[in-house]
Amino acid sequence: MSDRSLAAGAPEAPPRPAVAMRGVMKRFGAVQAVNGLDLSVPSGTCYGLLGPNGAGKSTAMRILTGQAIADAGRIDVLGYHLPAQSKLARAHMGVCPQDSNLDVDLCVRDVLAVFARMYRVPSDARSAAVDRALALSGLTARANDRAVALSGGMQRRLLIARALIHEPELVLLDEPTVGLDPQVRQELWSLIVSLRERGATVLMSTHYIEEAERLADRVAIMSAGRVVAEGTPGELIRAHAGREVVEVHGSAARLAELRALAEADCLPTRLSGPALTYLHADRFDGRVPSGVRRGATLEDVFVSLTGDYVE
């Protein structure tokens, strides 16, 4: 029985999240890939799952598509309980994986037509669905070319078009722009924005800070298999880095010395390459050494929370 029905006459409930994960655990041998993951993705938003490599983002995505079974926890997608109702959830979901899994020998139109059938698009709507996906991804002119002949960026667009063939309510994008050049990345960003404008919920994992900052309404920062911070990019920046930060450049020895002093003075800092960044500089005016003052960014938050560098 689906969990989707609402009792008649019940008081108006808050909108159901498109994705709800509670205390989800997943272990692969000695590796605890997901470790108590709590996630709530509001419907109709673009939600960024930000984390360094190995943070558990892709495993979380595989759990949502039913290709990994959680060891513990509760998972609901579009009101369907996983893994028991995974097939129903997948019918409403489109997935763009991190690594291409296209039928590269087929032409673009056939790739889409095959998956229109997989996603149960009715026969009388299939051809229109293929044309719409081609137009949305800007691949109409390449419809009869084999997928293998497309550039990396075009193949990525085809993957997204394939995920959208059935006009899903929820779109999972696993590192959608990884390895692409900046121009192609911006094209894909436009495509992702258009998805949200059409009312779809987008859950996008990425390790590109800029991508999350530009596209996501809300961001969850993952580290070691769980969410360590969640909110809008603005909320996260204000809470974890303040309005302004100060960057002090110097030798490694000098930075180590400054960091020790900052720790003794309870000043939050992060190392960023050849500089030491003082977070919440506006709050600690007078105690922060002179340096380059700039607005805080999501990258400051990310690095201070995960201890990892980002691209």
Binding site: F28, R62, T65, G66, Q67, A68, I69, A84, Q85, S86, K87, L88, R90, A91, H92, M93, G94, V95, P97, D99, S100, N101, L102, D103, V104, D105, L106, D110, A113, V114, F115, R117, M118, Y119, R120, V121, P122, R162, A163, H166, E169
Partner: protein
């Protein structure tokens, strides 16, 4: 929305058809090469054995040797077409192309992937199996009405061997692993099936073992279609092929699921 037509926990015709059509779509790109290999190889084998050994052995069980081999080669064509395609294509799709991951992102389950693919490969193998029979006609095999059943025998056998191929594929990690299967399983199945010589010439223990070979039951059925049906025995042969197919399917689904769902 489409989810009203989706039923978890059930093998759905719409999903099977989607998998089947995907195979068909890919096949349309490669039908020339695949058909050439699947048809020409057993025909060459038939001609080599039939014309070569045929000079030494004129008749087997009162059947001209080339007709004996021609009917037996149907099973060989079915075996090779089904099992090799299933083994290599399935491993490629799972491990390198990862297209199964894409299919599992859609409302398609592992059992539907395995079933849809084995139905396609089995059907194709069954049809390819007719080629040696057509060649045998050229060497005097008299047409018989029961021969119209041969494609069905081929499809039934092909489905079972496609499932077996998918099982081996799911057990393999690399293409090299499949060498063990080819040498250790496929070759003995191929040689000890009554294709080139009657099993009655084998030692008792080997003959009894050969009765467990599904290919033997296919060979017997095809010969009976060509030279006269034996209803009671043929029902046993059909039952053996059905049991083989069901067992191979269950094991293939189980192993493939273990590979794809972690």
């Amino acid at each position: 929305m489409t989810a009203a037509n989706v039923h978890p926990g059930r093998i759905e015709p719409a999903a099977l058809l989607a998998v089947w059509i995907r195979e068909w779509t890919v096949f349309l790109y490669y039908w020339r090469t695949r058909t050439f290999a699947a048809v020409v190889e057993p025909v060459i084998m038939l001609l080599a054995f039939g014309l070569g050994f045929g000079r030494l052995v004129s008749h087997v069980d009162n059947i001209p040797y080339i007709q004996f081999v021609g009917t037996g080669a149907v099973a060989t064509a079915v075996l090779f077409s089904a099992v090799f395609s299933a083994m290599f294509d399935s491993l490629y799709k799972r491990r390198y192309q990862r297209v199964y991951d894409a299919m599992l992102s859609a409302p398609v389950d592992v059992d539907e992937i395995v079933t849809g693919e084995m139905l396609f490969l089995g059907t194709r193998a069954g049809l390819y199996g007719i080629a040696p029979l057509l060649v045998a006609f050229c060497f005097g095999l008299p047409p018989a009405p029961a021969m119209l059943l041969v494609p069905f025998v081929g499809v039934l056998t092909g489905i079972g061997f496609a499932a077996l191929g998918m099982l081996f594929s799911a057990m393999a990690t690399t293409f090299d692993d499949l060498s063990y299967v080819i040498s250790g399983v496929i070759t003995p199945l191929f040689l000890v099936a009554g294709t080139f010589f009657p099993l009655s010439r084998l030692p008792d223990w080997l003959r009894n073992l050969a009765l467990l070979n599904p290919l033997y039951h296919c060979v017997e059925l095809v010969r009976h279609c060509a030279f006269g049906l034996h209803p009671a025995a043929d029902l046993v042969h059909v039952a053996a092929l059905v049991a083989f197919g069901a067992l191979a399917w269950a094991l293939a689904v189980s192993r493939t699921r273990a590979r794809l769902i972690v």
